[in-house]
């Protein structure tokens, strides 16, 4: 029974981390069809922003929830202005350019902070279930994932910005005819996606090894989850994150973490083969 509770907690942790990891990507890829291969590096920058500002004496919550998203959102803004905006409509070139960007960011951070693991202590302490102990940070991550999902959903559904952004993604020319500047909407959407990614990076910082190359471990997982989710960026991504997270954690529990990862990837490939439009192409059609 207690073991089952721990396993459930593990699954919750896996699902929550996946949602956090790919929400920013879902916004950028799902709304703009931009394949941002520097996504992992945005996460890494968020984690570094948290670690560096915490070590400089800032409160860890402030560093995680404010500094990380602001900093990475700003980076996203600069990247969109200097790089992405020249490449709209050139899918492969965006992939290549963002891959170049990811290499450059890894190189830059390695030059600045070196190749060693940086860390911050995990806040919140722990609790115990019977004879097993777990960290309170896990349920906190799950709550944050849920809150972030709800916040993005509310932003896209109920605000003027959300309405304009969705309209622009559907038909940029029509939106422009109605007085919206699509360029500014693209810019804002990209920055929003980057900020969400930065926040995720900040939240992962206490539980992940923060190294310049940490992004590579996440980018494929995030992509396969978003692609598996399909066109509905929120419900689809949440559904595929739940499926993949569950399979990953269960397989890890039964065998080893390595086979957990392999199980996740194999499931994802089979899923894309069976449902080329993603989960939401079949099930949550038309939802956000």
């Amino acid at each position: 029974m207690e073991l089952a509770a721990i396993l459930a907690l593990d699954v919750l942790n896996g699902v929550a981390s996946l949602i956090l990891l790919c929400l920013g990507l879902a916004i950028i890829f799902g709304m703009m069809r931009i394949i941002n291969l520097a996504h992992g590096e945005f996460l890494m920058l968020g984690a570094y922003a948290t670690v560096v500002s915490t070590n400089a004496g800032l409160n860890i919550w402030l560093a995680m929830l404010v500094v990380a998203p602001l900093f990475v959102g700003l980076v996203g803004l600069v990247v969109e202005r200097c790089l992405i905006r020249f490449l709209y409509g050139r899918l492969v070139d965006t992939m290549l350019a963002t891959w170049g960007l990811s290499l450059a960011i890894v190189g830059l951070v390695t030059t600045l902070y070196g190749n060693t693991i940086q860390g911050v202590p995990t806040p919140l302490g722990g609790f115990s279930i019977g004879e097993y102990k777990s960290s309170l940070y896990t349920p906190f991550l799950a709550l944050m994932a849920l809150a972030l999902l709800a916040a993005v959903w509310a932003l896209l559904s109920f605000t003027r910005f959300g309405l304009v952004a969705r309209a622009t993604m559907q038909n940029p020319n029509m939106a422009a005819a109605l007085g919206v500047d699509p360029k500014r909407v693209y810019m804002a959407t990209f920055a929003l996606g980057a900020a969400v990614t930065g926040l995720a990076g900040g939240l992962m910082a206490p539980v992940a090894g923060v190294v310049p190359t940490m992004g590579a471990a996440y980018v494929a997982k995030a992509f396969i989850t978003v692609v598996g989710g399909g066109a509905a960026i929120l419900s689809g991504t949440a559904a595929s994150a739940a499926l993949f997270g569950f399979i990953n954690q269960t397989a890890s529990f039964l065998t080893t973490p390595v086979f957990g990862e392999v199980a996740l990837f194999v499931t994802a490939i089979v899923l894309i083969r069976l449902l080329p439009q993603g989960i939401s192409g079949r099930f949550f059609r038309g939802s956000l």
């Binding site: 899918l91 891959w99 960011i105 890894v106 190189g107 830059l108 390695t110 990837f265």
Partner: protein
């Protein structure tokens, strides 16, 4: 100039370039010292890998982010087979066949599932990561194929190097390994050229240009893409075997993302849609990386990243097509210049776009 004359000149030029390349390969051991020769052997193996992606991406329109999967499989197949057989001849053959079969299985799944281009990139990337994770975790003594322990993250040391075909007693010296590797590079290049000149190659290029039109003309794009992918996989596997032979060592890092990124950079800066471009790009980048590795000031990733971004923004065609365009424009300008009496200034050449 008539088409036939032009074709004859082009063929003669290509044969001359081929002869020069063969002569260079044969002559190199006499003038280059051993350290550099080893370095060149490494470059030649990498150039084969570059050709494999240049072929499938440039002519098949298949952007694979996981060409290292086939490269790594080739290296491991060679290592395992060479240790088990004690002869590198069947090992080399297996290093082409195993990745080729793997490419066939993966390609069947991807192309016959009509998975779109973007997802293809994601899937190839994922497969490479799976292989990396799997091979990385085979460190225990129970993971062995025949006499060969896979070694996990430690890699497989002392992989037998190439011997004369079917004669395991005669191991090739570094000079012989150079001749074999560079010879393989030239052979692969010529083979791919011939494939492209054949009917099959023309259909593959037609499918790259317009898949729907080719399908309506009665060609099955799935089959052609699959075959192009398989050829690319086999070529990459051969590169991997020669790489394993160069260092007598394989480790899971050859499945790593950084190498996948490098191949794409080679092809992008060298020139997509050419065969010589990826080779040129590979040589430039690998020499640059070797230089950067020798000093401590700038990080190699930073330089590579900036180069890639710069090329995508400023010279998306790559070096070889850009140089070729400039050269062709110059030639045309010379050819079109009217023969004027001595002492009369020639009119400046018009813009080619107007003339064509």
């Amino acid at each position: 100039m008539a088409t036939s004359t032009r074709r004859a000149i082009s063929l003669a030029a290509q044969l001359a370039a081929l002869a020069a390349a063969v002569a260079g390969v044969l002559y190199a051991p006499a003038v280059v010292d051993l350290f550099d020769l080893m370095q060149y052997t490494f470059f030649a193996a990498m150039c084969i890998l570059a050709l494999s992606l240049g072929f499938i991406w440039g002519f098949g329109g298949i952007l694979s982010f996981g060409q290292t999967a086939f490269f790594g499989l080739g290296a491991y197949a060679y290592a395992v087979a060479a240790i088990n057989f004690g002869d590198s001849t069947p090992a080399l053959a297996l290093a082409v066949v195993v990745p080729g079969l793997f490419a066939a299985a993966l390609g069947y799944f991807v192309f016959y599932g009509r998975i779109s281009d973007v997802y293809l990139g994601v899937i190839t990337l994922t497969v490479t990561l799976i292989l990396f994770n799997l091979v990385n975790s085979t460190a225990g003594d129970e993971y062995r194929i025949g006499a060969a322990a896979l070694g996990g993250f430690n890699g497989m040391p002392s992989v037998p190097t190439l011997n004369m075909p079917f004669d395991p007693e005669t191991i090739l010296e570094p000079e012989g390994a150079w001749l074999a590797t560079a010879g393989a590079l030239i052979l692969v290049y010529v083979l791919l050229r011939l494939i492209l000149a054949s009917r099959f190659g023309r259909v593959a290029v037609a499918i790259r240009e317009n898949e729907t039109r080719a399908a309506l003309l009665g060609y099955d794009p799935r089959l052609y893409k699959l075959l192009v992918f398989v050829i690319g996989g086999g070529v990459a596997g051969l590169g991997g075997a020669l790489y394993a032979n160069w260092g007598a060592f394989v480790s899971p890092t050859i499945f790593a993302l950084s190498l996948s990124a490098e191949i794409i950079i080679w092809v992008t800066i060298g020139g997509l849609g050419t065969l010589i471009g990826p080779v040129v790009g590979c040589l430039i980048i690998e020499m640059l990386v070797a230089r950067i590795g020798a000093q401590q000031a700038v990080n190699a990733n930073l330089v590579l990243g900036v180069i890639l971004v710069g090329f995508v923004l400023l010279l998306p065609k790559g070096l070889v097509p850009a140089v070729r365009d400039v050269a062709l424009r110059g030639l045309k300008a010379v050819a079109r210049r009217p023969r004027l009496p001595v002492g009369v200034e020639a009119v400046p050449a018009e813009k080619p776009s107007v003339a064509e």
